[in-house]
C-alpha cells in the first residue's frame, strides 16, 4: 500500500493526527510553481500528453523534487480540481434547491446536478482529463460521491446500483470533450441530460403492454 498523501499539499497525511512539521518556505514556493505550471500545461494541449518531466521543467525544479510531493500527473490534477469539486459537493449537501436536499422532485434534482456538472466540465475539462482517464476515475473519492448521490436520487427504482453508473457515464470527461469538439454547446448537453433525468425519473420507463 502506498502512503496516503494530502491532496492539496501533497504532504504525508498524519494518520494519528499528530502535529506535522510546518511546510518550509522554499517548499511552499515550489509547490505553488508546480500547480501554476501544471494548470497551464493542462490547458495548453492534450492533458494526457503532459509528462512529469514537462511539469518539472516548466516549474523550474528538478524531477526528484516534483516526485517528492506528487506521485503522478493525476494527483497534481486532482489537487487543482479539489476545491471546485468540494464547492459543488457542498452545494449538494447543504445548498438550496433544486441542487440541495430540500428539492422534493428527484427528477429536477438530478437535472440540476447534471447542469452543475456540465458547468464544472466546461470550466475544467482539461483538469478532469489530466486527473484520471478511463478506469482509474471510478476509484476516485469524487466519483464515489457522485455515485452515492445519484443512487439516492434513484432510490425509488428497482435497481439504483445499476442505474447510478449508467446515469453517470455521460459525464465522463472524454464524452464531454467529444461533444464540445462537435460544436455541441453546453446548453444542448444540459438539455440532453435533462431529457435523460426526467425520462428515467418521471413515471415513464414502464414496460409497454405485451
Amino acid at each position: 500500500m502506498t502512503k496516503r498523501t494530502d491532496l492539496l499539499t501533497g504532504l504525508p497525511v498524519a494518520e494519528d493526527g499528530a502535529a506535522r512539521p510546518r511546510e518550509r518556505a522554499d517548499a511552499a514556493r515550489n509547490r505553488a510553481r508546480v500547480l501554476a505550471a501544471a494548470e497551464e500545461l493542462f490547458a495548453a494541449g492534450d492533458p494526457a500528453e503532459v509528462t512529469m518531466e514537462d511539469i518539472a521543467k516548466a516549474a523550474g525544479i528538478g524531477r526528484g523534487t516534483l516526485y517528492r510531493r506528487y506521485p503522478d500527473r493525476a494527483s497534481i490534477a486532482r489537487a487543482l480540481l479539489d476545491e471546485h469539486e468540494r464547492a459543488l459537493q457542498h452545494e449538494i449537501l447543504r445548498g438550496a434547491p433544486p441542487l440541495g436536499p430540500d428539492e422534493d422532485d428527484p427528477a429536477e434534482r438530478l437535472t440540476a446536478f447534471y447542469a452543475a456538472m456540465v458547468d464544472l466540465l466546461e470550466r475544467h475539462v482539461h483538469l478532469l482529463l489530466g486527473a484520471e482517464t478511463g478506469s482509474a476515475r471510478y476509484r476516485t473519492g469524487a466519483y464515489g460521491f457522485w455515485y452515492t448521490h445519484v443512487r439516492v436520487l434513484t432510490a425509488d427504482h428497482p435497481d439504483p446500483e445499476a442505474l447510478a453508473d449508467t446515469l453517470l457515464a455521460p459525464l465522463a470527461p472524454e464524452i464531454y470533450r467529444r461533444q464540445r469538439e462537435q460544436d455541441i454547446s453546453p446548453d444542448r448537453i444540459k438539455n440532453a441530460l435533462a431529457t435523460l433525468a426526467r425520462g428515467v425519473l418521471t413515471g415513464g420507463g414502464a414496460k409497454p403492454p405485451e
Copy 2:
C-alpha cells in the same frame, strides 16, 4: 497521415483497388500466432498492461515482425473484435425485429440494441478494453456506426446529435467492467439500460408544469 491498413490482415490497403500480392505462407502463420497470443494475453490480465513486446514474445516472433502489420496494441484488438462487431451491425441493418429495421417502436429497438451490446461486452470486454480506451474510441469506425444508429432512433427528439453520445456513454467498456466488478449481472445492466431507452423515447421527458 499514416498509411491505411486492412483491419484483419494488417496489410496495406490498396487505395486504387489494384491487385495486392498474395500473403506468404510464413506471414500467414505468424499472423495467426499473433492473434492467438494477443487474444490470450488480453483475456489473462488487464488489457491496458499488455505491451507489444509481450505479444511478440508470446507469439514467438520478433518485434519488427509484429510492427510490420500492427502499429499498436489497439489495432490487434480491433482485428480480433472486427467480426463480432460486424455481425451485430449486420443484424441491425438487415436482421429481424426488434433489432432490425422492421421494428417500429424506437424505444424497443434501442432497448434491443442495448441488450445486444451488453452481450457483446460480456463476451469481449477484454478486447474492447484492449482496443481503445478513452478518447481514441470515438474515432473508431465502429463507434461511428453505433452513433449513427442511435441518432436515427432519436430522430424525433429536438437534439439527436447531443443525445446520441449521451445515450452511448453507458456502453463504454470501462463502465461495463466497473459494473461487473461490483457483481452487477448483465441482466441488471440490460434492465437499467432499458429504463433509459424507454424513459427517453417513450413520451416522457417533457418539462413538468411551471
